[in-house]
Structures are given as structure tokens and as C-alpha cells.
């Protein structure tokens, strides 16, 4: 079947003049704000929450206070030990809170880039998702962010750009349909050394 389909494609293209690739398109806006601020604006516009901290100590204080409300937490495999949330660890399908690490982020589209190496169930099953982001990995455009993650090595990458939502029921917006209803990006300007 492979040869038949390829043969049919070649037959179809026999008299079709080939058209060259137009090259890469730069989507950067000349007047865009600095990437970290721009990311925060776009991520919030889609319903996400953003907190920015100077270093791991400040972030840890916030995480400790925030996590007090949750019975159980599921950590992604890439979460630095110093940023782990002090709550009982549970399997992703039972945990009330998921904590992941972003591989990168894109300001223009307000997207977090997540890797399957960090654990997909942790990114999807708990109703609240906290994503730790190294401010240095926030790119201006989605193209730059994806270029940086091309050789991630895992089976899959994903973009999460806000809480799960749907307008399929009578065109009324509902959040938290299948994925987390709350997603919180924690930006760290000084990422802890491993």
C-alpha cells in the first residue's frame, strides 16, 4: 500500500511545478514587551495565574503556604528537591495538586512547554496544576520556545496555555473540563542549581 500511495502522489505531481519553501517566518512583534512580563499578561488573559519570585527561598515560602490547603500532591520527576511541596505524595489520579517543571515558555502565545519526561499524568489529572518556570527560559515567540525544546529527548511535548476549558454546552464557557481547572505558573528569576 505504501508504494501504491507514493506512486499515486508522484503520478499526481508529474506535471505540477515544484514550489520552494518560503523560509522561516519571524512572528516577533517589534513593540512586544520584555518576554517575562509579556508571558504573564498573555497567560493571565487566558485564565492562568502567575507569580514571580526572585529566588528559590521566596518561591518555597509561597509554595509552603499554598500547599497547606491540599491533602496530597503529585510531583513531576524534574521538580528540584528544594522546590518540592511539603504535602503527602499521592498518585496523580488521587492527588489534589500537581507540581511540574516547564521546559520553556512562550510569551507571545502565553504557553508553557512541558515535557513527557516530567510525567504526563501529573500535568493532567490533579484539579490544580502548579508549573515552575525558570524565567531565563521564557522566549518571546512560540517558535523560539519550540526551537529550544526540539531535542528534549522525551516521547512528547505539550503546550499548556491556561486552564482546561470548553464552550460546547450552549456556548457557555466552562473551566476544568478534563484537565486542571486552575493552572499557576511560578516564575523563578534565579533557578536553583541541581
Amino acid at each position: 500500500m505504501r508504494q501504491r500511495i507514493l506512486g499515486r502522489v508522484r503520478q499526481a505531481l508529474r506535471d505540477r511545478p515544484p514550489v520552494p519553501h518560503p523560509g522561516a517566518l519571524d512572528t516577533a512583534a517589534p513593540d512586544a514587551p520584555p518576554p517575562v512580563e509579556h508571558f504573564a499578561d498573555c497567560f493571565r488573559a487566558a485564565g492562568g495565574e502567575v507569580h514571580r519570585f526572585a529566588d528559590a527561598d521566596a518561591a518555597r515560602r509561597w509554595l509552603r503556604a499554598f500547599a497547606a490547603r491540599f491533602d496530597s500532591v503529585s510531583h513531576g520527576t524534574g521538580v528540584p528537591r528544594v522546590l518540592a511541596v511539603p504535602a503527602p505524595e499521592g498518585p496523580p489520579r488521587e492527588a489534589a495538586l500537581g507540581v511540574s517543571v516547564a521546559r520553556a515558555a512562550a510569551a507571545q502565545s502565553g504557553s508553557l512547554v512541558l515535557s513527557s519526561r516530567d510525567g504526563r499524568r501529573t500535568q493532567l489529572l490533579p484539579p490544580v496544576h502548579v508549573v515552575l518556570v525558570d524565567s531565563g527560559t521564557v522566549a518571546g515567540t512560540l517558535g523560539e520556545a519550540l526551537a529550544a525544546c526540539r531535542d528534549d529527548g522525551g516521547a512528547a511535548l505539550a503546550l499548556h496555555s491556561g486552564p482546561s476549558k470548553s464552550a460546547d454546552i450552549g456556548q457557555v464557557m466552562v473551566t476544568g473540563v478534563h484537565g486542571p481547572g486552575r493552572v499557576i505558573a511560578i516564575l523563578l528569576d534565579d533557578w536553583p542549581a541541581p
Binding site: I5, T27, T77, Q108, G110, L146, A155
Partner: protein, 459 residues
Amino acid sequence: MQIHSREYPKRAREGGDVRASVTGATLSFDARRRAAFAGVAAEEWRVWAEGVKTHLLTHLDRYLEEAEARLEANGARVHWAGSQEDVHRILSAIIERRGARRAVKGKSMLSEELEVNELLEKRGVDVLETDLGEYILQLLEQPPSHIVGPAIHLSLDEIRRLYHETHGTELDATPDELAGVSRLILREAFLAADVGITGGNFLVAETGTVALIENEGNIRLTTSAPPVHVALVGIEKLLPRWSDLAVFLQLTARAATGQPVGNYVSMIHGPRTADDPDGPEEVHVVLVDNGRTDVLADPEAWEALRCVRCGACLNACPVYRQTGGHAYGAVYSGPIGSVLNPGLAGLHAAMPLPFASSLCGACEEACPVRIPIPELLLSWRRRAVEAGMDSRAKAGLLRAWTAVATRPGLYRAAGAMLHTLPEPVRRVPLPVVGGWREVRADPEPSPTSFRELWREGIE
């Protein structure tokens, strides 16, 4: 793909009960699309995207081979399917080998085209649609009526009644409550499923990556939770390079829903690696032809293969807004459906869809890859007339009109005559325009003709 378009004129006129929902939803989609493109160099993006897709299509054999090689290097299994029967054979083999009893599905127009649910049910597999709109339609045993919003023809009250009957919720339940009921059922289904089936918005040849756009997270779960993931991908869905993907993701989302990017994008290279704590152990990518190489060979219609299935042309179309998608009687409705269906299933099967348009051009203006839809509609119309598929009465009437309108003297005389026709003669039922006159008052002839007004000088 089965097409039931013959009844189009009748069903289009009966579309009154879906009009409010469809018009409201499409106008809102269309307004959000315009707002989203106002913030970027929209024309530059569209011209670029047209160029990339045209390059892809004119080198499709090379990119199909590259995609296959990359996917296999990533550990995915690649299958080639010429027809619906091939797809069914491939899926049956996977189901049998895995002993699969339960499947979850992400929204996929290609799977509708290939009648995948019917096959799974026949093989004794419990299949659940997991997109909220598709889940509702599965309960109602209805096909999707829109490429992006499959259930936009249903009002909140209709969905409340359905959930009341099927799930026992209150008749005044909020959309949040209805979504909550669905979440509980589908969450269990994701975790219990033996196989997850999706389509594919894009397949990047350079990296062997299937990309899927959505908002709910159901596709993320369909491709992450079950041990097997099968992606059905039309051969025209390829993109040459990894760097092309970022722009196409944003272009498609802006055109479809006015979002900067889909809320969730899954980019799947292959099965779970040694570094991955979870994810499917098998990933199958089925490359589907099913009529696409016929369209590629067509010197005009091949341009429709650039389509990214954003639905922007449906939202922009004044005809679609009135009728909704079901009237078209085909998986692909609206303007793009009217040019794709004749190519995929044959013009005869898709009649009279190329005529279901006023040729106003709004579809082409909205299209993010600049498909010349009105031109393609005209091309199919020309072929239909040449093949004698169109109404002979209409052809005769138009020939008569042409004969009169291209002869000034005759035109003048005919105009004057029309004027003096007695009332009962003017009310005689006419072919072709009969349906139009059913719901409209006949115009009263003006006492003075346009020519006379012109001579006297129009104020």
C-alpha cells in the same frame, strides 16, 4: 465516506430550529477571529502559510517518506491506508492483538470520514467520544455539524433535557454541573481504556511529530493515559519543518476560535521512552489517502488540500449560518466541504453542494491558507453542468436569460412586456425559483423602468 447531499435544498429550508444557535455561535467565532488577527501581521502569515502548504503538496512524496522514517526512528509504527477498508483492517489488527475492549477518542473529522466508531462497535469495542461536544452528539447519535464546534447547533436547553433523560440531572442544571457529570464518566474511561484514538492537526516530517490542538484536555488524556495511541492522519496534514509548526499552531487557533494558540497542544514523537514515567507503550500513525491523491491530481481542486480544518469559512459563510452543518449531508460541511467533498467522494455523490453558496467571497477572505474557495466552487459547477448533473430546467432558463440580456433591443422589449403582464400570469409557478418564491413576496414591477429613470436623470 458517505454523502447524503441530495436532500440539501429541502434540509436547508428546514434548518429553522438550529438557526438561532448556529448563527449566534458562528458570528461569535467570526468576531473573535477578526480580533485575533488584528493583533498580528495577518496577511504576511497567510501568504507564508499558503507558501509552506503549497511547497509541502508539491513535494508530498518526499515528505511522506521523511515523516515515516523519522516516526519509525522515534519508535512509532507507521501504517499506510489507501481507503476506509484499509483503515478498518489496520485498526482491527491492533484491537485484536491488544485484546482491546475499551477505546477513548479525541475529536477527529477524519475518523468521522472513515466511520471509525461504527467499526469499533462492530468489533465489540466500547468507544467513548471524549470531547464534550462529541460526547453529547454520541448520546444523541448525531454527526458533528461544525469542524471545530461539533455541537453548536444545540441550545443549552436541548443539552439540559438530554442530560436530564440520560444522566438524571435537574432540568435547570448549569453548564458547569453538566460538564462535571461528563468529567466523572470520562475520567474513568480515560483511565480504563485499552486504546486512545485521535486524528492529527499536523505531522511534522522533519521530526516525526504528530501535533494535536484542543481546549479541554481530552486529547492530552487520550494520548497519555491508555497503553496504545492510534493517530489517523490525512496525508495532506504534513508540515515540512519543526520551525513551521509554531506558526501553523497559532494561525490555526486564531482562525478557528480567535485564541493565540489552542489551550492544549500535544506534540507526540513516539511511544514512551526510558526517560518517561508514563505514556503509551505503542504509538501507531496511520497515513490516510482515501481520495486525497485524486484531489492532488486535480489541476484546480488540489488547492483545497491546504486546508487546516479551522472552520473559519463556515463561520464566515452567510449560507452556513442559516442552515448549520447537517443540511449538507456530509462530514465536511460549509464552503470547504462543498469543494472538498466532490474531490474526495466524486462530484456526482456531492451534488448539489457546489451550488450551496452565494459566491460572496467571505470564505476566501477568512481562510488562513488562502484557498480560493469561490473559484473552486465555480470549477465544480462548470463540471457539473458539462456532465449534465445540474438541473436542465435551470440551464435552459439561464440560456434564455443570457439570450435576452446580451441583446439590448430584445432586453428592452422583454422588460416592457414583463411590465404589462397581468397579475395571474406573473404568479405562474416557475421551475428553479419556486423554492425561493415559497418564502418571499414577489416583487411588484416598478411603473417606470430603470432605463427610463436613467434617461430622465436619477436623483
